[in-house]
Amino acid sequence: MLVAVVGLTVTASVSFAGAKAGVVKVAIMTDCKGAFSFGYDYDSGGAQAAFAQYAHGKVKNKNKPSAGMTGITAGGKQIKIVGYGCGNDTVPLAVTETKRLMEKLNADVMVGPLSGDEAVYVANYAKAHPNKTFIIGTAGSQDPTLQIAPKNVFRYHGDGAMWNAGAGEIAYKKLKWRKAAIIMDDYSFGWTSAAGFIADFCAIGGEITKRVFPPLNTTDYAPFVRQLPPPNQVDGYFWVVGGSGTAPSLKAFEQAYGKLDPKKLYGNLFFAFLGADKVVAPKVAGAYVGGFGTAPGLKTKAANAYRAIMKKYYPKLPPDDGFVYNYYNAAWALVQALNKDGGAIGSKLQAAMPRSIKPAFQVSNGGVLHLDSNRQGIQDQYPLQLVKGANGAVAANVVGFVPDVDQSFHGLFKRSSPPPGRTQPKCVKAKLPWQGKIKVVKNGVITKQTIK
Amino acid sequence: MLPGERRAILGPNGAGKTTLFNVIAGDLAPSAGRVELFGEDVTTLPSRARARLGLARTYQQSRLLLGLTVENSIYLSILGVRKGHLRPVVLPRRDEELRERARAAAGRVAISHKLDEVVGSLSHGEHRQVALAMALASEPKILMLDEPASGLSRGERTLLTDLLLALDREITLILIEHDMDVALRVAERVTMMHEGRVIVEGTPSEIRADKLVHELYLGTAFGDE
């Protein structure tokens, strides 16, 4: 038995020895299990549409992006997608998947991962593998580009805090909130997402009177909802409960304090996922929602052109979805870099990675998104609102435009500052660059009018 | 019972003989009454503490350490009443001394040729030998044997009887046995039990003569054989 096994190891090692020269190996790291398993096709589809559009890639199956792509070339070199990482939104699997993609399949570049915790691991991994290049797919954590920030990690979209930029100002101005409480999933994405609310709301003069932390995947939210001050003591609640907990937590709130009032609730992007819930979603229709760095329904030339590209290659994918969009931009940036330096990899590729790109939903600076010195994008954000459509379904519409949101919230978050947590950030008044500049978006058009 | 006494306990199945053993050994707690060993009340002592006072027993179903070798089994029996159960190192001199005793005990029950064999692979008769060797090896003051002859061949029974007769006179021996030949040859006094009670007590010859015993037990027992 053991002899056979030893024999197997030798054969296997030999068969993996020959690496082809002149090929840039790209891995697409995403999830295929867990809450984000849809990402497997959304993410690979987004990235591959960019390869198809800008690097001659041929789609194998229009309805199934993960079936792969052939014929990708850029900078005179062949680009080979060596594998798709199959994570489940947790770190342990990200470890084995990352090592499999980067060391077994010997990828030179990773496009991904999908989630915040995975990205923290990948950034740490990147630090130890300076010759490989990592372009984050869709991850909401700050750490990869703020705390860890290795030179070979790039992110062309916002983090979880940035996605909520403008939310505090909207609550303060449109909903007249002064005192708010916040309920947040007790883990890094919950804290980071809440941090965006807190920073934005406190900057304009609001006050957070209570922070409540239900553990992730709580089944009974009643005890946590009861910790929130009753509706007569605060003007509203920021709601950062996701996964399978969004609807149950709102139901628990309804049982504790009566009818849900959309004017007193402000959700992060998880509210936008409520649409499918036939019971709770209609009750919170009208509530404002934090963004995801995308602008569903935005009517600009660039946005329409992007949608046409997605439709051409993968007609079944929703182009305005953040998972599709972010992976598309990541792959597009990679193609630009490879074209610039003849398909070089390693530190040359990292040097060639564009410091500014023109993504479809970027409007500021003539549509140019810049990276900051940590290779983190400075991105326009789009606050949303839940609205009941003609058919009764609840959808999230873009209602605001927040120009050029940077990761630091004007210095509040820095490398040396404590990372978002249960008690971080503190509630401080500040002048954020986008304060007073949030534009009203109506029917997909950014108006000249600022939010008042 | 007096020190050094040889007592057999007889009675039909379900008479409570093994239960009595279990209560004395501490495997079962009595519902009423007390257990005394060597003049001490041991009712609340666990079985392992009674073993350390010098009580050794065998079981009707051998309850042997089937995964260990004969030598290791007997070795554990000797180690059980000594210090060093938890010693995580081999001390060659001390362990060799204990093993020497184990081998000697194996010799007494004529199982020396199987020292390195796993107990689980031995025959029923050999199991009885190992059980006896384990009980003897711990050098008990009281030895309780639960049907040591059951399942043995005639020759093996003779060997067993001789062995029991040759035991150190200081050892108190209590024997549960269906085999009258063995029981009545070895025992000096016999207790007859029925349905949890002692019904007759006496010397072997008194028992042989007792009518009630014949009626209740000997008749059926012999009838069975």
């Binding site: 770190v91 | 309850r63 159960h85 010693r87 995580p88």
Partner: protein, 362 residues
């Protein structure tokens, strides 16, 4: 009894073991495929250590424990909290106390062993399915504690741990071979230690407890104490695997010790065979190879709901597991023992006394 009878099998096993050992020892030095050394073999070493703790309890104590993954993870979490540093460039989660990593290792081993002793104290009086359930409870408690006590871990766990290795080990990120040889050395040491322990009075009486706890009690042994200490020893072994794991993967999170993680370790142990310590590394090796290679082949009809590789991976592991367990309940080591016994039976009746026979609990 007759050394000439069992010598060939032992000699053969030793040759194979030595060959495998030499192969893995020279693998990195020969510059052979690094993925195999740094991923497959390294994981085999460290998960094998954890599996060995499980097999030790099962083969010699008759206790199938589902708590070993939890203990493995607990050691990792302790290291993560003690050794990492906060602030700029540091990891941002956990207590990040910034202790000397060597001290952290000692504390992690001692604390994990202590926790194992406490677990053992609770579980020692039960057996069979009840023991299994109690240890499963430990594993669930560990998962939820890590997930919900955000000060020490939280759902996201602690990352960047591999930057905080002891000075005598050096930078394992830049020199993964160091970790490779350390893990190999620890694995060999654990194997030798277990083989030694089972020949000592403690180990022999533990095997007695496995076979007949009631008998052992009437022989004078404190059965519960023995089981508790065995559990503590197994926790010690598992902690070594856990420490190596966090240096290898750089992170530890509740996802490492949750139910799938617990079952994975059990599957490794069962594939290897719950009767012989060698099975720990064999089982870990087979499992990790399957995990790394089977997934690259999509099996038609086995991919569900778009999770192409994920779906067929779990199904294939499940099928392989079933086949092994049905064909040989004692795993691959058991199959090997049987095959050799069968071969020699045709030449003459042997009986090996060298290896522990499966106890009632295994």
């Amino acid at each position: 009894m007759n050394p000439l009878r069992w010598a060939p099998k032992q000699r053969l096993e030793r040759c194979i073991a030595l060959g495998a050992l030499v192969l893995v020892a020279v693998w990195p030095a020969l510059g052979l495929n690094a993925y195999w050394s740094h991923q497959i073999f390294l994981q085999t070493f460290l998960f094998g250590i954890a599996a060995a703790s499980l097999i030790f309890l099962s083969a010699y104590g008759g206790m199938v424990s589902l708590a070993q993954t939890a203990l493995f993870g607990i050691a990792g979490v302790i290291i993560g909290n003690l050794a990492t540093k906060g602030g700029a460039g540091g990891t941002s989660k956990g207590l990040h106390l910034g202790w000397d990593p060597t001290v952290a290792v000692v504390v992690a081993v001692v604390m994990t062993t202590a926790i194992g002793l406490i677990f053992g104290l609770v579980a020692a009086r039960s057996a069979g399915i009840y023991f299994l359930m109690i240890t499963l409870t430990f594993s669930v408690i560990a998962t939820y504690t890590l997930g919900q006590v955000t000060k020490i871990s939280g759902f996201s766990g602690i990352g960047g741990i591999s930057s905080y290795t002891p000075g005598w080990l050096g930078d394992v990120l830049a020199h993964p071979d160091r970790l490779y040889y350390l893990a190999l050395g620890v694995a060999v040491a654990v194997y030798v230690l277990i083989r030694y322990i089972v020949r000592t009075p403690f180990g022999l009486s533990l095997q007695g407890v496995r076979d007949e706890p009631v008998r052992m009690s009437s022989l004078g042994y404190n059965v519960a104490l023995h089981r508790t200490l065995a559990f503590g020893f197994a926790a010690f072994v598992a902690s070594l695997g856990g420490i190596l794991y966090v240096w290898w993967s750089g992170q530890i999170a509740p996802g490492n010790v949750d139910l799938p993680g617990t079952i994975n370790l059990l599957v490794m142990a069962v594939i290897g065979g719950l009767v012989r310590i060698e099975g720990a590394w064999l089982g870990a090796f087979v499992f990790i190879v399957i995990q790394n290679y089977v997934r690259d082949f999509a099996v038609p009809g086995l991919s569900f709901g778009g999770t192409l590789f994920g779906g067929s991976f779990n199904t294939i592991v499940g099928i392989i597991f079933l086949v092994i367990v049905l064909a040989s309940p004692a795993g691959l080591m058991g199959a090997w023992d049987r095959a050799v016994a069968e071969l020699s039976r045709r030449r003459g009746p042997p009986r090996t006394a060298d290896e522990p026979a499966p106890g009632p609990g295994s």
